[in-house]
């Protein structure tokens, strides 16, 4: 018997992950049974609020913080916007300088570009060739009139871990008036995070990157800082994010957190899988690695000599294998992350991102490697 249906090999988990069963069940339950408005004073409302509180507690447990430091938003983009605009508005009398990196997610970069147009001085720190911003550069960039430092923890294209702690240390050493914002979307649920110990004031997370639903995420905001909201209304989320809470999605996020494996153990499992993938990729001629060796092992970024990213991606897709050509948010455009690492156009145009989740196994890697080899053999090269 020939098996006609190819196994789905999903290796694009940094774009989004498959929602887990518990998440789907909890969403279902919230829509079918527990559909009250958490602001209502009656029993239905209270029941919905309780589910939401459980979710808040689950997030707070993961971040070793208080529940009143967690604010739900529609996802990473909104959380980044609230954090950046909020911090700058709160501190604008104390300085004009913003420090960030050139490899942030577009929801951070575009927000900061808008502030730059309004007259703020922005420093965009560039990474080295391995994709990591140097501690010394961060140190030097933070001055006594810096009001916001925004640095992501794990880069979404390369997995490179950024020295966010260095920013916290620099801020406290010179007592800069800056709030420290950290986009931790790619790290949440995958690394042990303790924002207060890391000196982070504001931290962004998003549920669909850890097997929860899309449309929900949130912001950790330290109780020690105050920021103003961007939208006004019924005062939900302690006034920071008005609008009836998306209880089904919040319940779904709770389900996803309940199913998260122990993150250290899972990290070791994925590290072995990643190391195996790298070993096998090294069998192939013309592969170069764009992720640093000490990147978060969930992401491998490679370039395939002479093969256009999109072409290879579509070829793999025809074999039911899904990877990404750069980040999903930048459909078609060449990666600004790889470019600012100083990689050549040829490297950027032929980049592929393979990103793992707890659902992947060695068979997935083997199927991917075999198809990649086939693609390299059959696809025409570009010049």
């Amino acid at each position: 018997m020939v098996c006609l249906v190819r196994k789905l090999v999903y290796l694009d988990n940094s774009a989004t992950t498959k929602p887990c069963e518990t998440a789907v069940e909890r969403i279902n339950n919230a829509l079918r049974e527990n559909w009250g408005n958490p602001s209502s004073l009656h029993g239905l409302g209270i029941k919905a609020e309780q589910e939401m509180n459980r979710a808040r507690q689950a997030v707070a447990d993961l971040l070793s913080c208080r529940t009143d430091e967690i604010f739900f938003t529609s996802g990473g983009t909104e959380a980044n916007n609230i954090a950046i605009m909020g911090a700058v508005n709160a501190r604008r009398r104390r300085g004009k300088r913003i420090v960030t990196t050139s490899i942030e997610h577009s929801s951070t970069l575009e927000t900061i570009v808008t502030l730059e147009k309004q007259g703020f001085n922005v420093v965009y720190l560039k990474p080295d060739r391995s994709g990591v911003v140097a501690k010394e550069d961060i140190d030097k960039a933070i001055t006594s009139d810096t009001i916001l430092v925004s640095i992501m923890l794990v880069n979404n294209e390369t997995g490179a871990i950024q020295p966010v702690k260095a920013a916290a240390e620099a801020i406290s050493r010179i007592s800069a008036p800056a709030m420290l914002h950290c986009d931790a979307v790619q790290a949440f649920g995958k690394m042990n995070l303790n924002p207060s110990r890391m000196g982070i004031d504001l931290m962004t997370f998003s549920a669909h990157k850890f097997h929860g639903p899309k449309g929900i995420g949130g912001l950790y905001k330290s109780k020690n800082v105050k920021i103003a909201p961007l939208t006004y209304g019924g005062g939900q989320e302690r006034g920071l994010r008005s609008g009836t809470e998306a209880t089904p999605l919040i319940a779904g996020m709770l389900g996803a957190i309940e199913e998260l494996p122990d993150c250290d153990k899972q990290l070791e499992i994925v590290r072995k899988l990643r190391d195996y993938a790298i070993e096998r990729l090294k069998e192939i001629e013309g592969i170069s690695f764009n992720s640093p060796p000490d990147a978060l092992p969930y992401i491998i970024n490679i370039s395939v000599d002479g093969k256009k990213s999109e072409t290879m991606m579509h070829f793999l897709e025809s074999r039911n294998i899904y990877v990404s050509s750069g980040s999903a948010c930048a459909k078609g455009k060449g990666s600004h992350v790889l470019r600012s690492m100083g990689l050549s156009d040829a490297r950027v145009d032929s980049a592929l991102r393979i990103s793992f989740s707890k659902n992947n196994d060695y068979e997935d890697v083997d199927i991917f490697i075999d198809a990649l080899k086939e693609g390299i053999k059959t696809l025409r090269s570009f010049k």
Binding site: K308, E310, T311, M312, M313, H314, F315, L316, E317, S318, K331, G332, K333, L379, R380, S381, F382, K383
Partner: protein, 389 residues
């Protein structure tokens, strides 16, 4: 107050004995375009088409948007219908035009009388209505040379029609009056504009798109569909053929000199499009080429491409600059779709140094390395059809 849409046709009125065929076609196209808006009745008399809504709920603004995109119309307007006596004309004009007349300072009245049995002459109607409106709207002044608004009264067989100004129609000829042709559509800025221009001349459209997965993305095809939907707002439904092209591109890449790649590929596109065109009753091909835009669009290259087909190839953009093409694409709302970054159809295969002055004999010689018949047959066999509305 009863309202209608009046439609005046342009160059169609010049046609002799064929005129009623053209009129019938225009009415058919109007009916199709207005079907989603609501029930209407269409009549024609004296070089004018009258559209009468059959319900009070009829959304005139949406209807006018649709009419604006029907080819074969020189001008159109929304008008109010009055009884054929001067008292009713004066009353209705006052009520119907009040809002507009309050906004302006100067006006003039133009009257046309095609019903010569009406007791007043055209100048008499103008004078009476002008005088009446001046009395009712004291802020107004008459300016016969450069008025802010022209109020028009047309006294016709079945009533008097009152309107303020009129809108320019899409021009051209009713789609279907010029036969069928097949447009080669890539997803770029040019081909939808070319398709639109030929539809404007009354040509009914088929479209041929070449897909080369995995070198091109599914999104490129979706984009082509979106573009054709925009064109179809003017041209009516379009039959789209999506031709699998990967095998042909790979074969050319493997077996032919690199410098000829694009030209041989374009010749294949012509040959396949011709077969598809014939299968679908098309009499010509349409492309978005313009001289000198890229290496494959030099005169020499176009000659080599043309030689691949016996059908006439229409290139309505041939003498246009990119900016002129972009301007039309913005007007017909295809620009924003065209610039989505998914097309780069064949960048993988694009030669570094394409031949700009190719010679046909050399190309034909290069093509001998390929089994042209089988390649084309395979492509035709794999072609998928769908209707874009």
């Amino acid at each position: 107050m009863k309202e209608v849409i009046l439609i005046k046709y342009g160059e169609m009125a010049l046609k002799g004995l064929n005129r009623s065929t053209f009129e019938a076609l225009l009415i058919k196209n109007l009916k199709k375009a207005l079907k989603p808006i609501g029930e209407i009745e269409i009549t024609r008399s004296q070089s004018t088409i009258f559209i009468e809504p059959q319900s009070d709920e009829f959304d005139f603004n949406r209807a006018l948007e649709k009419v604006k995109k029907v080819f074969g119309i020189a001008a159109f307007s929304r008008a109010c219908v009055a009884n054929k006596n001067i008292q009713d004309i004066l009353k209705k004009a006052e009520a119907y035009l009040a809002e507009r007349l309050k906004e302006i300072k100067t006006f003039k009245v133009e009257a046309k009388r095609s019903d010569k049995k009406f007791p007043l002459t055209s100048p008499q109607i103008s004078a009476q209505l002008g005088g009446y409106l001046l009395k009712r709207f004291p802020h107004l002044k008459v300016d016969v040379h450069n008025p802010d608004e022209i109020v028009t009264v047309e006294v016709r067989d079945f009533g008097a029609y009152i309107r303020a100004g009129q809108l320019a129609g899409a021009g051209g000829m009713p789609v279907g009056s010029g036969g069928r042709a097949a447009v080669l559509i890539s997803g770029g800025i040019d081909s939808p504009v070319a398709a639109w221009m030929m539809a404007k001349r009354g040509i009914e459209l088929c479209a041929v798109h070449f897909a080369s997965p995995p070198y091109t993305s599914e999104r490129a095809e979706i984009k082509v569909r979106q573009l054709l939907e925009k064109v179809a707002e003017y041209s009516g439904e379009i039959k789209l053929a999506v031709v699998p092209f990967t095998e042909i591109q790979e074969e050319i890449g493997k077996k032919c000199p690199e410098e000829y790649f694009t030209l041989i590929m374009r010749r294949f596109m012509m040959m396949i499009s011709e077969r598809i065109a014939k299968d679908n009753g098309c009499l010509a091909l349409i492309t978005g080429e313009s001289v000198g835009q890229v290496a494959s669009q030099t005169i020499q290259a176009l000659a080599v491409t043309d030689a691949a087909t016996e059908m006439p190839v229409f290139r309505p953009l041939i003498g246009m600059d990119k900016e002129e093409i972009v301007e039309i694409s913005r007007k017909i709302d295809t620009f924003e779709i065209s610039i989505q970054p998914y097309d780069d159809c064949c960048t993988v295969f694009t030669p570094r140094h394409p031949k700009t002055k190719p010679q046909l004999e050399q190309i034909i010689k290069a093509e001998q390395a390929l089994d042209i018949e089988t390649l084309i047959d395979n492509a035709i066999k794999g072609t998928r059809y769908s209707i874009i509305e």
